[in-house]
């Protein structure tokens, strides 16, 4: 008797918990696009269908467990077939599923229509950051985690957007159709922002499409969803949605900065300038694998500090940074970084942490190599 009650209460508490998913922070966000709201309503529809089926099925089950207990003197019947009942309970789920498949198909078709976009953004996954390029606008940048290591290691109190903050968010316009072209430089990543209902794998050698039309300005946060190595938990996605005109002036500003940077290729850079710039680039790009102090993580990621092979062969060092090392995690950076950044980071690596080669690599030299 007590057992049956416990059973019933157990089932009740499941359903209670299930329905409280409606509360905020327990459920899928409805999001800020048409598509995300359609997905949310599909999710809630199938959820309630499951709840109703669950109540009926478990209801009959617990009734039977209660009513036909041997301790209550139940004598067992001997039936073991009933064709019409079996036909009904096979056909009804089939019909429910057909009913569910129709709206799901319609939504899926909308999600797959990435045509007539107002803006194309190339999203490239890299271990462990995102690179964004506004196609045809000459604007591109890398976006990496900005939560300090001290918060992760518990030496400092964790901030409000712990693990969900980046140095440079992806900026997008509200009300325009933005097409994403997703790819990857190394392993498979997956770009996901729940409020936009966009989750798409970024795969090396492939370009995947997805799109979004954001309706409200704001900041939307997400994360890499596909296991991509040790810092998989530490490559968040942050999207800042601006009104159309604000976005246009932001983009114009960035374009101007990019032009200024490009003009720096031709001039002669001093050692100090290169070292300063190189430290920034190294911290944002290289330090996750080769460590901030250049000590690496053997056997996969070689140490750079005190690395004889690196110090003795300047040309090979440049080649490795530009073209990567095939068969290892070392990626080619020739198209991800501009000549100034490449020259600076190579100079930095040859002169930091007790590496005293004294070598200076000028952006013009890299530019010449890239044009070969």
């Amino acid at each position: 008797m007590r057992k049956t009650l416990a059973w019933i209460m157990g089932a009740g508490s499941f359903l209670g918990l299930a329905s409280s998913t409606l509360a905020n922070g327990w459920n899928m966000p409805a999001g800020v696009t048409d598509v995300s709201r359609e997905i949310y309503s599909l999710h809630m529809t199938i959820f309630w269908i499951c709840v109703v089926i669950g109540i009926v099925v478990f209801g009959v089950m617990f009734y039977s467990l209660f009513r036909y207990r041997r301790s209550r003197g139940a004598k067992s019947a001997n039936f073991h077939e009933n064709t019409s009942v079996e036909v009904v309970w096979t056909a009804v789920p089939l019909l429910i599923l057909v009913g569910m498949a129709l709206p799901a198909t319609a939504t899926l078709k909308r999600m797959y229509d990435a045509s007539e976009a107002d803006l194309d953004v190339m999203v490239t996954g890299q271990q462990w950051r995102w690179h964004y390029e506004y196609l045809g606008e000459n604007v591109s940048f890398t976006s990496s985690l900005s939560t300090p290591r001290s918060q992760i290691n518990g030496e400092e109190e964790k901030g409000e957007n712990y693990l969900l903050d980046v140095d440079q968010p992806l900026v997008l316009p509200v009300g325009r159709k933005v097409r994403f072209l997703m790819t990857s430089d190394d392993v498979i990543h997956s770009w996901w922002v729940p409020d936009l209902a966009v989750k798409q794998d970024s795969i090396p050698g492939f370009v995947n499409e997805n799109w979004v039309r954001i309706e409200e300005p704001g900041i939307y946060r997400g994360q890499c969803a596909e296991l991509c190595g040790k810092d998989h938990a530490f490559m968040p996605v942050v999207v800042r949605a601006l009104e159309g005109d604000e976005f246009d002036s932001w983009l114009a500003e960035r374009r101007k900065e990019a032009e200024a940077e490009a003009s720096g290729v031709d001039r002669e850079w001093s050692m100090d300038e290169l070292m300063e710039r190189g430290e920034q680039v190294y911290g944002a790009i290289c330090a996750t694998c080769h460590q901030p102090d250049g000590s690496g993580a053997e056997p996969t990621f070689p140490a750079l500090a005190g690395n004889e092979a690196l110090l003795n062969d300047r040309d090979r060092h440049i080649d490795v940074v530009l073209n990567g090392v095939s068969g290892t995690p070392m990626a080619a950076f020739r198209s991800n970084l501009n000549p100034v950044e490449l020259a600076a980071v190579i100079t930095y690596e040859r002169n930091a942490w007790g590496n005293e080669s004294g070598d200076v690599v000028q952006p013009s030299e890299i530019q010449a190599l890239l044009e070969q």
Partner: protein, 57 residues
């Protein structure tokens, strides 16, 4: 032949009368049921594929 197809269809749906099953087991040839079963499985796949192709238009 029609009997075999009907029985295979019933098996796909998962419901069959005990009497009919006994009849099939005593009088039917297993080879026929297996052959029809394979063909029908292929038909089912093509059917779902056709629906998917039509829905994707």
């Amino acid at each position: 032949m029609w009997e075999v197809i009907k029985s295979v269809l019933a098996a796909f749906f998962g419901v069959q009368k005990e009497r009919q099953r006994q009849h099939d087991f005593q009088h039917g040839k297993p080879g026929a049921f297996i052959a029809v079963g394979i063909v029908m499985a292929a038909v089912l796949v093509m059917l779902v594929a056709a629906v998917a192709i039509m829905a994707a238009r």
